[in-house]
Symmetry: C2
């Protein structure tokens, strides 16, 4: 049985006294059987270890067990029924879910800006789930209220702030929307009560690289509208051009709008570009605009002495969002919003003063009840996984991971240059390596009329093949007038040179007949 | 060693070939040691089992190990440093986090609308964490795209809809804000591009029971403004009065505002009241308003044939939010937004058309890429825990839990009536049991001038004592002109009559000298 569970909770809870009433006789028994439940959890843990963490990170096993949707639905037997199932059947379901899910921890999963695995972070996540609490009051989450404050302090210190505020949010989008909302509130405190309907048209500025699609969604959600997101031009590397920002702000003002928010990016999604923060800060200061840095992807570079210059000037921002679930492999979700503000803007902007949550006659310091800094009533604990991992490897360990990721990306680029079929979109500034694979039949035919059309079709075919064979996962996309190209994101701590070589070999193999 | 890990991933990944270059020599080694990592995870799992799931659910152990914030910060040694720590030190940290955290699974934790434990749900949560994926494309989350659709279908069926749409959101607040945003978009599709600044003043209606504080926060976030949340009166049980809603809508129109959204509640936070949905639907139809039901707390009643009448008419709503992490014990977070709409409003309202995520030339049905239904770019998988639990107990099992919770609440009320010091706020409609404890010294002195002031101070003192002694956790709050009263929420599947009796005994013990 369960050798780790020597306490007597099970027997104690199920020892029934004589019932007081016949109608209520079942009320003396809990509806959950601890022994059976813990056995199931233990068996699930074994499956997780074997299928997800051993096989799922083993290059001898597939990244992906591709099935067509209809076939997969049948295999999983998803239907929810009136009656329950026996434990062995449920364990088979756990096994099936693991089997047919993408192995995002696998060294050959490079499809997204998350992936890999860190066991300390994962331990922190299991503990978070087991403790199942809501990060809103000191009363219900004493450890995590203090821990979150410490982790935010540590992240702010890397930005260059000794004071400030912040919060973990459910993903980068939420962090960025929070920043927008706080900036709006700072400019027009009356917006909280009166809304936007009496206000002038507000303008937001961001660059023309891809994440502007997301910025538009957030602006729409906040009632600002996508038309009020002004797109600033980028240079050839995908970096916002400060002079263009300056001109567009001036233009917007002349058209009667009120510019209030600039969203710069440190590490764009596709190209991994870093906007020139120092120069943008000059423009923001000149026009008195809120400067926000979306460092969801690139923020982790701040750990590295060698590469942190990419975010030079970040300390001049008003707010920074940073997702340690990306480059630091903390696990989804882990997204911090950091604020330079020391005037309690976050709380003032978001508080609801709900007396049922935040009683004013409590016996401890009410500033510890952080829940009214958030518009969420339930907020998951996202700090423990990062805290535990940070304790395990230290800031030096994080720096080592970042530096190694840059070196791996450099190695990958060098290898590409040695091979005939790989054509880089640009020299990478970060760990995003963007390239076209030119199949043998197309090499040397760049002048042909349908070359770009044909090239656009290469990546989707290779992608379909790699998915169906399950050997690896790499993403592709078009960008502006550039047709479909692959983007490798090189950051998983599991990666080795051999994996890099494999990626290139495999793309050649999958695309050689195209 | 690890008997569950028989595969050779560790050795395979750390077998280094000769490095190609001296600069890059470390690139042949992964930065994560699987053997060491899996051992740590295994040890953490043992601590979770023992501290959180055995002791943490055992009535012989405390719910809460209260420490003052400064003392706790010292005990936890939260500081983040440059260098990492050895495994045994990290395991001690895991142990400390477990020790000083509130045991929300404990039968005597009744402080919030979450708590208890379901082992199948917890197994689903561990698996979710290990698989670490983002629910936005079929490509990266094939199992969960299909599973989420099926779970949403099952929940919609209980609402009474054979078709519709939906999404799991990071908490009920997000679900409710989504509903508001979609309703706004349906009324004024141009709001997505133009924002609110050219539109008339929009009005939202909700009842005067406590959750209106949250509704105000969401309205502020969406740019609508708290002044535009119109408060509808409630009856003596805390239920919205449809005639007052009708009058207030008419009044708002006459004042030039555009009413567009009514947020009803099925299971209010404090009193557990259910708004009369059928009558409210009549008013919404008459005025052509979007009817939203915030059933975060009470939605789970739909599983029970005996009690589902409390939500009679819910099928007439346009949208419903429902948090299975509350009454169904799915674990934080698990919040569904359900829509009756079949015209793809959700996607139209929230889509960003980000080409880097949703390529139009994929080799499978793009409708499976659900990510652009959400304003989040990263969205956690929240369906697996509920799906697995549903498979384990079936709809019948959920119905049994709901019915038992009602019976437990009934038992608690009956016992209170037998005791002298307990005074009910009202007969409960749901599993929220609200009451004042009248200490012996105050009994029979209701006529005294300072009676209410003295009564208001009773609950905070008892609360402080129970926290510091760690015997149980129950919440209190004032409501309107009613001074501080306790609210027990009786739903944990671990609860027995003995726990109910204990609660009453313990409140008497803690308050007998007041």
């Amino acid at each position: 049985m369960l050798d780790f569970c020597k306490c007597s909770c099970v027997t104690l809870l199920t020892t029934a006294d004589e019932p007081e009433s016949h109608i209520l006789c079942d009320l003396n028994e809990p509806l959950v059987d601890h022994t059976e439940g813990q056995l199931f959890l233990n068996d699930t843990f074994k499956i997780i270890m074997e299928e997800v963490l051993c096989k799922g990170t083993d290059i001898k096993h597939k990244v992906c067990e591709w099935k067509e949707p209809k076939e997969l639905a049948l295999l999983l037997d998803l239907e929810l029924r009136a009656t329950g199932e026996p434990q062995h059947r449920l364990l088979q379901r756990v096994q099936d879910v693991a089997k047919y899910s993408i192995k995002t921890s696998h060294p050959r999963f490079m499809n997204q800006q998350f992936g890999g695995v860190d066991y300390h972070a994962l331990a922190g996540r299991f503990l978070t789930e087991a403790l199942n609490t809501n990060l809103y009051t000191y009363e219900v989450a004493p450890v995590f209220v203090l821990m979150e404050a410490e982790v935010l302090r540590g992240l702010r210190q890397l930005v260059g702030w000794t004071e400030g505020d912040g919060l973990f949010c459910p993903g980068g989008s939420a962090s960025n929307m929070y920043a927008m909302n706080i900036a709006r509130y700072q400019h027009f405190p009356e917006v909280k009560s009166q809304g936007l309907c009496g206000l002038p048209r507000l303008n937001i500025f961001t660059s023309s690289d891809v994440r502007n699609a997301a910025v538009c969604t957030w602006a729409a959600f906040l009632g600002i509208g996508t038309d009020n997101v002004i797109i600033v031009e980028v240079d050839e590397g995908g970096r916002m051009i400060p002079d263009d920002l300056d001109e567009k702000i001036t233009l917007a003002k002349s058209q009667g709008a009120v510019p209030f928010f600039v969203s710069c990016t440190s590490g764009t999604t596709v190209r991994g570009a870093f906007d020139p923060l120092d120069l943008i800060a000059d423009v923001c200061e000149k026009h008195k605009l809120w400067m926000h840095v979306d460092a969801a992807w690139g923020g982790s570079v701040l750990f590295s002495k060698q590469h942190s210059h990419l975010l030079k000037g970040v300390y001049r921002a008003n707010s920074v969002s940073w997702n340690p679930h990306k480059m630091l492999v903390a696990g989804l979700q882990c997204s911090a919003l950091l604020l330079q503000d020391t005037t309690d803007l976050l709380r003032k902007c978001h508080s609801a003063n709900a007396t049922y949550l935040f009683q004013q006659d409590k016996f401890y310091d009410l500033n510890l009840d952080v829940g009214d800094k958030s518009v969420q009533c339930s907020r998951k604990v996202d700090c423990l996984k990062l805290w535990l991992m940070w304790k395990a490897v230290g800031s030096i360990g994080f720096a080592e991971r970042v530096d190694k990721a840059f070196n791996q990306a450099r190695y990958l680029v060098e290898q590409m240059k040695k091979r005939e079929g790989f054509h880089l979109l640009q020299e990478p500034e970060f760990v995003n390596v963007c390239f076209w694979f030119i199949p043998p039949s197309m090499r040397g035919k760049e002048g042909m009329a349908d070359y770009q059309d044909r090239l656009a079709k290469v990546a989707p075919v290779i992608k379909e093949r790699m998915m169906k064979q399950g050997t690896m996962m790499v993403g592709y996309q078009p960008l502006g007038n550039k047709v479909n190209f692959f983007r490798m994101v090189v950051f998983s701590p599991l990666l080795t040179q051999k994996d890099m070589d494999f990626f290139l070999d495999e793309i050649e193999r999958l695309g050689k007949d195209l």
